[in-house]
Amino acid sequence: MLRSYLPVLVFLVLGAGVGLVFTLINGWLGPRRPSRIKSEAYECGLPSEVTSSFRFGISFYLIAMLFILFDIEVVFLYPVAVQLEALGAFALIETIVFIALLLVAFVFVWRRGALEWR
């Protein structure tokens, strides 16, 4: 079973290898002339006051939480989807009930304005 995933390793080595080789060749062939100005982060206009650990308000926090919920819904639906023809009407009704329950939650958060931009 796991043996059929062996080529994945080959692809991983090839893909990451190309990325690494490109970066290494660049480090080898490219010039290295650091200066104080060059090693500042890019800024347009006044000098940047950004430090590496500044805080930033994420206004899509709630949507990110909803995303986890609905992504899990999708993952749960996949096994049912593959076996739906074999399982028949029982699985269909279960799926409809499952989606309906989530849809109630979806309509609720939509009506409460969680999907609006603030």
Partner: protein, 342 residues
């Protein structure tokens, strides 16, 4: 978690992977072939965008400018790739590698021809796994770590905003892309891409699953971070977004990964909805049909870039959550009902 997935993998029929050397040859050939396609695609896009905007595009290096990507690579390799003092250097070093690594890994499941089209029993795909679609979704999501880490680790405002937008984009379309492929999974009764293509020998899934196809295309544009959804990059607003601080071949690697992503998404759409290797003529023409279908979708990517303006990211969120998600759920319910009743 493990028991439903285990049921899936034991139920699905997976074609034999072939002996070890065949698997290795397949992996190297597919990788080498597609890696040649990416620079060609860069050239094609620049030429076509030129024509769309009533100019010529690059036409100086080589015949019709065909060697332009080579010149670009030589230039990028000989440039300094500097790291800002505010950055986290090791994260900046691995971010492009993550991007290109995940794009190449997704390539592994694309079926290019019918099992046994060139003799033997094995499928003309890097691997034929029973969880094909989940594999595609998994590595598609992992690809965003490249953008997120690269943007966050740069320690620059523009990069940071770009990576935040990448996160906002991910949570907006990812559910829709999962649901859009669910209709196909129901119709084909398998998640393996080889089985899904094989199930389309009479009618392509684009006909019964046209809603799923359209949702997949829209979400696919967002997955590849291409215009009109190139919010993480947004060169008109954020300088260059997540890769502002990347120079030299690190930038080149991000660039290459973006084009590989376009090829991969086109290939998945061609396999899942447009019948993959199916087409008139004998079976050994399969890869030709597959590449033709991919080319049509790639051209669509370029055409849309030249036509549609970029969305704001709250617009992308409401598109994903208020239009694509309900539509995709409806599509799944209708497909499920029809499959069970008919």
């Amino acid at each position: 978690m493990s028991s439903p997935l285990a049921a899936v993998s034991s139920a699905a029929e997976v074609s034999s992977p072939g002996p070890l050397w065949v698997q290795l040859v397949k992996a190297v050939v597919i990788f080498a072939l597609v890696l040649q396609l990416a620079p060609t695609l860069v050239w094609l896009e620049r030429r076509l965008l030129g024509r769309f905007q009533s100019r010529l595009g690059p036409n100086r290096v080589g015949p019709a400018g065909l060697l332009q990507p080579v010149a670009d690579v030589i230039k990028l390799v000989s440039k300094e790739s500097s790291t800002p003092t505010t950055a986290v250097p090791w994260m900046m070093a691995i971010a492009p590698v993550i991007s290109i690594g995940t794009a190449v890994l997704t390539l592994a499941i694309i079926p290019f021809g019918a099992p046994g089209a060139y003799g033997g029993e094995f499928a003309l795909a890097g691997i034929d796994v029973s969880i094909g679609i989940l594999y595609f979704l998994a590595f598609g999501s992992l690809a965003f770590y490249g953008l997120l880490l690269g943007g966050w680790a740069s320690g620059s405002k523009y990069s940071f905003l770009g990576s935040m937008r990448a996160a906002a984009q991910l949570v907006s379309y990812e559910v829709a892309i999962g649901l859009s492929l669910l209709g196909v999974a129901i119709a084909a009764g398998s998640l393996s891409l080889v089985d899904i293509v094989a199930a389309q020998d009479k009618v392509w899934f684009v006909v019964p699953q046209v809603v799923g196809f359209l949702i997949f295309l829209v979400a696919g544009f967002a997955e590849a971070a291409r215009p009109p959804f190139d919010l993480p990059e947004a060169d008109a607003e954020l300088v260059a977004g997540y890769n502002t601080e990347f120079g030299g071949m690190r930038f080149g690697t991000f660039f290459l990964a973006e084009y590989l992503e376009i090829i991969v998404i086109s290939a998945v759409a061609a396999a899942v909805f447009l019948g993959g290797w199916h087409g008139p003529g004998p079976e050994f023409l399969g890869p030709t049909w597959m590449f033709l279908k991919m080319a049509v979708l790639v051209l669509l990517f370029i055409w849309v870039r030249a036509t549609v303006p970029r969305l704001r990211y709250d617009q992308l969120m409401s598109l994903g959550w208020k239009i694509l998600l309900p539509l995709a759920t409806l599509n799944v319910l209708v497909t499920a009902t029809l499959v069970v009743l008919l």
